[in-house]
């Protein structure tokens, strides 16, 4: 039982929710860019939330299922088709042996996820199946997928069951957009911005530069300045940290960010809003809205509670 890559996409890697516990050795967490999408489709399929999924960019791969299975797609809308028939994201789908999954257009978002019921069979490295492209390890042979790759999965589906037509409610799916405003909390050096720079920072006038990847999104906008230019010794940084670079531009650290950095930290995007940033592509816009740390914590707690309800709902419906 496996999937076969008829044609590779530009960057298809296996990711889970990240590799924790090894940052102090310089080993970054990696993991999916849009963790909410991964958790949602895994929950939908009855998988563990941390089950490894295939993260795809556009152009996306063409995939053949070599056995009957159930699967789900989430994150970006790439116009998925199964055997040339359009299928919806966020819904359990079933594929008969030899079915072909392909993606026809990049309609919204930039990272699309494929999860399979019971998961793929991958060798874990340091407790995670996420691909570390720099160290060339983890995921599937430490690299992006190529034509002809054959990745085994664990699906034990006996018969194709049409009762599996579960779908995730619209209200819990991130509200993706090409110009989202994301909520942030202030970073340690926020207070050092000049008054004018603070105004510019909050003017919602940034776009994603071409020089962006899974490590970080460089933003283009009016340059920002600190009251005093600071030389900082390196400290740990986080997924969603906004750093101010020496040329006055900012960078959002993404899933493959280095563990440490020495640039001023202007802000941190709150976790529930990270997927909105993670789905952006070159030229898309982004704005920032400051909230308090307490609000950020409350939003995270509410979000986790919503996910628990979804989990209970799925369990109830699959009985």
């Amino acid at each position: 039982m496996s999937i076969f890559i008829n044609r590779a996409g530009i960057l298809d890697t296996f990711q889970d929710l990240g590799r924790n516990g090894f940052r102090k050795f310089g080993i970054n967490s990696n993991g999916a860019m849009d963790k909410t999408a991964v958790r949602l489709i895994n929950i939908l399929l009855g998988n563990g939330e941390n089950e490894a999924v295939l993260e795809m960019h556009f152009p996306a791969p063409e995939i053949k299922f070599e056995a009957d299975t159930a699967f789900a797609i989430g994150g970006a809308d790439f116009g998925a088709e199964l055997n040339n028939k359009p299928i919806e994201n966020w819904q359990i789908q079933t594929a008969a042996k030899d079915s072909v999954l392909k993606f026809t257009e990049n309609s919204l978002g930039n990272r699309c996820y494929l999860s399979i019921k019971n998961g793929f069979t991958l060798k874990k490295w340091l407790e995670s199946s996420s691909t570390n492209l720099t160290a060339e390890i983890g995921g599937y042979e430490g690299r992006k997928l190529q034509k002809g790759d054959k990745i085994p999965f664990n699906s034990k589906l006996q018969t194709l069951n049409s009762k599996l037509q579960l779908k995730i409610a619209r209200s819990i799916i991130p509200f993706y957009s090409k110009f989202p405003t994301v909520r942030i909390i202030k970073g340690a050096e926020y207070q050092d911005l000049t008054a004018l720079s603070e105004q510019q920072f909050l003017s919602n006038d940034f776009s994603i530069s071409a020089n962006s990847n899974r490590m970080g999104f460089r933003l283009e906008g009016k340059p920002l300045h600190l009251l005093n230019d600071k030389e900082l010794v390196s400290t740990a940084v986080n997924f969603g940290t906004l750093q101010l670079l020496p040329d006055g531009q900012t960078i959002i650290l993404m899933a493959d960010h280095q563990t440490t950095g020495g640039y001023p930290r202007i802000a941190h995007i709150i976790e529930p809003d990270l997927p909105l940033a993670a789905q952006l592509g070159v030229g898309d816009g982004i704005g920032f809205h400051i909230i308090s740390l307490e609000e950020a914590e409350n939003l995270k707690v509410e979000f986790e509670k919503d996910l628990s309800f979804l989990k209970m709902g799925v369990r109830f419906n699959s009985r």
């Binding site: 924790n20 102090k24 340690a188 740990a236 986080n238 440490t260 941190h268 709150i270």
Partner: protein, 226 residues
């Protein structure tokens, strides 16, 4: 311990910052604090990341909030937990460390920037090597790449700025210097440090239980392969 600041690094991490300085004493304290927090632990704790003069603690704020109602926020709970440990830690205690020897070759093919470092400091190649080998260095932190150690302090006589334009490929094992720091590239990678030599020692061993040779606080002596 002297003054410090605690601030959030997102809603699921806090940084304890002991000032923007590089010192053995502060780095020792950071390491001791890190070890104690790992040992004592709390529900929702994920990991500690020691740096030069700061420690960052990552946690799952949902778990923290689920398990403690006495604090108005997860941040407050973690802050309180850390403050108590800081108060109980001895102020000056050397952290445990091991000394690791790294054989380096300084031949022309490996030491890509040795000439530049010598010239810009008005020294001969041989003198740069002598000065470099004369000291024992300390691993202040790991970062940048798996197993990449930031080591110091380099003798001021051989200190060198980063390259204006970073190399797109620095060979694995290259020994570099930047300012008064030195470090070894565990993997081939882009990089802007001045390369003065190369080692065959493996710094990143993904298949072993301990994936990196160095850890924060270790001492490093370089020797010359002739």
């Amino acid at each position: 311990m002297n003054k410090y600041k605690i601030y959030p690094l997102g809603e699921s991490a806090v940084t304890i910052d002991f000032g923007n300085i590089i010192s053995f004493e502060i780095n020792d304290f950071v390491i001791n604090l890190s070890n104690r927090i790992e040992k004592e632990n709390f529900k929702g704790f994920i990991e500690c990341v020691p740096a030069y003069s700061s420690l960052t603690v990552f946690y799952d704020v949902f778990e923290v909030r689920k398990n403690d109602d006495n604090f108005s926020s997860g941040f407050q709970f973690v802050e309180n937990f850390i403050k108590k440990i800081i108060e109980s830690l001895p102020k000056s205690k050397k952290s445990k460390s091991k000394t690791i020897e790294i054989p380096v070759s300084f031949d022309k093919d490996s030491a890509l920037d040795l000439e530049f470092v010598a010239e810009s400091n008005n020294l001969k190649r041989k003198e740069v090597i002598e000065i470099f080998l004369s000291k024992t260095y300390r691993v202040f932190m790991l970062g940048f790449l798996p197993g990449f150690a930031y080591m110091g302090e380099l003798d001021g006589r051989i200190a060198s700025p980063r390259k204006q334009t970073p190399r797109t490929k620095v060979p694995k094992g290259s020994v570099g210097i930047a300012g008064q720091q030195t470090g070894i590239y565990p993997l081939e990678s882009p990089g802007g440090w001045q390369i003065i030599g190369k080692t065959e020692t493996e710094l990143f061993t993904p298949d072993k239980e301990k994936p990196t040779l160095f850890q924060t606080g270790d001492l490093v002596r370089f020797t010359e392969i002739k």
